[in-house]
């Protein structure tokens, strides 16, 4: 057993898992509140990667030199604009279909996904885009040959993700808006009767999900520096897998599922095979669906009588 490889893959897995967790939040919250899988969510994440690059480019064109300042402004801007995307998608593609069959918004979601991919491809080109690396530096433990390292960007990803998840948990558990979200999720018609504008709450959930995906998009772009119009697809499906693993509809489940999936995938890459890591992740999805369809923290769906 190579302990330094294990340590390294745990660090990588935690980083990757935080990202999956952030994106999985969008899937799970939307599913929880309106019972649909928002297949355009991965592409919302992709949009946020482009917005990050654009924002950083604009800031540097204006002569902003402070990297922390540029990152904070970019994060805020990306979350805001991506949130507007999330809001608009719900308004245009899902709300008019509310009350129709369950399949209709699903198809509409696939349509939006294709629309976003092609729109970005036309507007930004099909080639890989990239940004220069902004944060250097690593923490390293061990000797010259066998070591475990965590780059500063990885650390930033883990801290920012956990911070965002903690903030969101607080919002949902402790604030009035959070209670209204939970009420709408548990019994939409009753929430309406009590005076909650549930359409507004549903919009808010889309904005929150998109903003969380935007945090992921910005962090991943800072880490890898490269992306194209198709990155939302695989990452989106992985995050969806994470949401199902944790129990779709459960917020802590999405975070836990994301982190576990990231760890599984990294450990599989490190010890078995890198080429088949996606196969492994989706095998996890299949196994969860067969043996524990309600996920780790999800409640089994009980038929109402």
């Amino acid at each position: 057993m190579d302990w330094h490889i294990l340590g390294q893959q745990l660090v990588n897995g935690l980083t990757l898992g935080s990202i999956y967790g952030l994106i999985a939040i969008g899937y799970t919250m939307v599913y929880g509140i309106i019972g649909m899988i928002n297949f355009a969510h991965g592409d919302v994440y992709m949009i946020s990667a482009y917005l990050t690059a654009i924002s950083l480019a604009v800031l540097s064109a204006f002569g902003v030199e402070s990297v922390p300042f540029a990152i904070v402004v970019t994060l805020g801007l990306t979350m805001f604009i991506t949130g507007v995307y999330g809001w608009s998608i719900e308004r245009v593609a899902y709300r008019p279909l509310r009350g129709s069959t369950r399949l209709a918004p699903l198809i509409s979601a696939i349509g939006i996904s294709l629309l976003l991919q092609n729109y970005v491809q036309v507007a930004q080109g099909a080639r890989n885009q990239g940004i220069p690396s902004l944060i250097d530096g690593v923490f390293r433990v061990g000797n010259d040959k066998d070591f475990v390292q965590m780059t500063h960007v990885q650390l930033l990803i883990v801290i920012a993700s956990f911070g965002a998840m903690a903030g969101l948990t607080w919002l949902i558990q402790r604030t009035s808006l959070g209670r209204q979200c939970r009420a709408t999720q548990q019994d939409r018609h009753m929430a309406e009767i009590l005076g909650i504008n549930t359409d507004r709450i549903i919009s808010t959930v889309f904005v929150i999900g998109a903003a969380m995906a935007a945090i992921a998009g910005t962090l991943v772009t800072l880490n890898y520096g490269s992306f194209d119009f198709f990155v939302g697809f695989v990452t989106g499906i992985k995050a969806f897998t994470a949401a199902v693993l944790g129990g779709i509809g459960s917020l802590p489940g999405a975070m836990l599922g994301g982190i576990l999936l990231g760890l599984f995938e990294s450990l599989f890459s490190g010890f078995v095979n890198t080429d088949y890591k996606d196969v492994f992740s989706f095998s996890v999805l299949v196994l969860v669906l067969i043996f524990r369809p309600s996920g780790l923290l999800g409640r089994p769906e009980v038929e109402k009588v």
Partner: protein, 238 residues
């Protein structure tokens, strides 16, 4: 301008393709307890749901405090001072008892929340014992108490109840009707939909009888209790 607190004028409503209400007219005055009785499927629940905009009345008018609410979105109706305790209670099972109560304050804000919650705990001591428990773990009677308390948290002028006694043990039913009397004593107007005609008519000032979506009879609680038709159909004929 109407002088009634709630006035329903000739509404028709459909439940899917079926016409559930035909030209239903009724009114409730301030401070009254009015009951609506009728058999299963007569349209009682549809009437209450129509007051809250789902399904919508296709014909006719609904006025509350003289103001037309027929076409208001459901969530705005609570803000006018009308509260509904629906059939099946519809508490939020994943929230604690206390959180459920707080959900009732949406139309009025949190200003009086502490004071009102304390008043609810005095009215329903069982809820105080279970304040931190998930509401889904409460017994049926406790859930019904919680649903009523949650509705009262909105400080409504009028409270509508849909079969609050349904599926509960006789002792609990008795307690529920006592509570309704206490609530009426607080100056709330009550509109009660019931299959338990005996209890309901004894409590109510006035009553309506709904048969197949049409108001067939109306009168004071006493008159209806004594009416042979009502006795035959809803009170077991004795």
């Amino acid at each position: 301008m109407s002088e009634h607190l709630l006035e329903v004028r000739g509404i028709d409503a459909y439940y899917g393709p079926i016409q559930a209400l035909r030209e239903v007219s009724l009114h409730v005055d301030k401070g009254e307890i009015v009951t609506l009785i009728g058999a299963n499927g007569a349209g009682k629940t549809t009437l209450l749901n129509t007051l809250f905009g789902n399904p919508r009345a296709l014909v006719g008018h609904i006025l509350f405090r003289g103001e037309e609410i027929t076409r208001l979105p459901t969530y705005q109706i609570a803000k006018r001072g009308l509260a509904l305790v629906p059939e099946g209670r519809h508490i939020f099972p994943g929230m604690t008892v206390e959180e459920n109560l707080v959900m009732g304050t949406i139309p009025v804000g949190m200003e009086h929340a502490d004071e009102d919650r304390q008043a609810m705990f005095e009215l329903f001591p069982r809820l105080e014992e279970r304040r931190d428990q998930r509401a889904g773990t409460l017994s049926g009677g406790e859930q019904q108490m919680l649903a009523i308390a949650r509705a009262l948290m909105a400080r409504p002028e009028m409270i509508l109840l849909d079969e609050p006694s349904l599926g509960l043990a006789p002792l609990v039913v008795k307690r529920i009707f006592e509570v309704l009397r206490e609530i009426a004593g607080l100056g709330k107007t009550i509109f009660l939909v019931e299959q338990n005609a005996n209890h309901a008519l004894k409590l109510a000032d006035r009553g309506y009888v709904l048969v197949n979506g049409v108001i067939e009879l109306q009168g004071s609680g006493k008159e209806l209790l004594g009416n042979p038709q009502v006795r035959q159909a809803y009170l077991g004929g004795h």
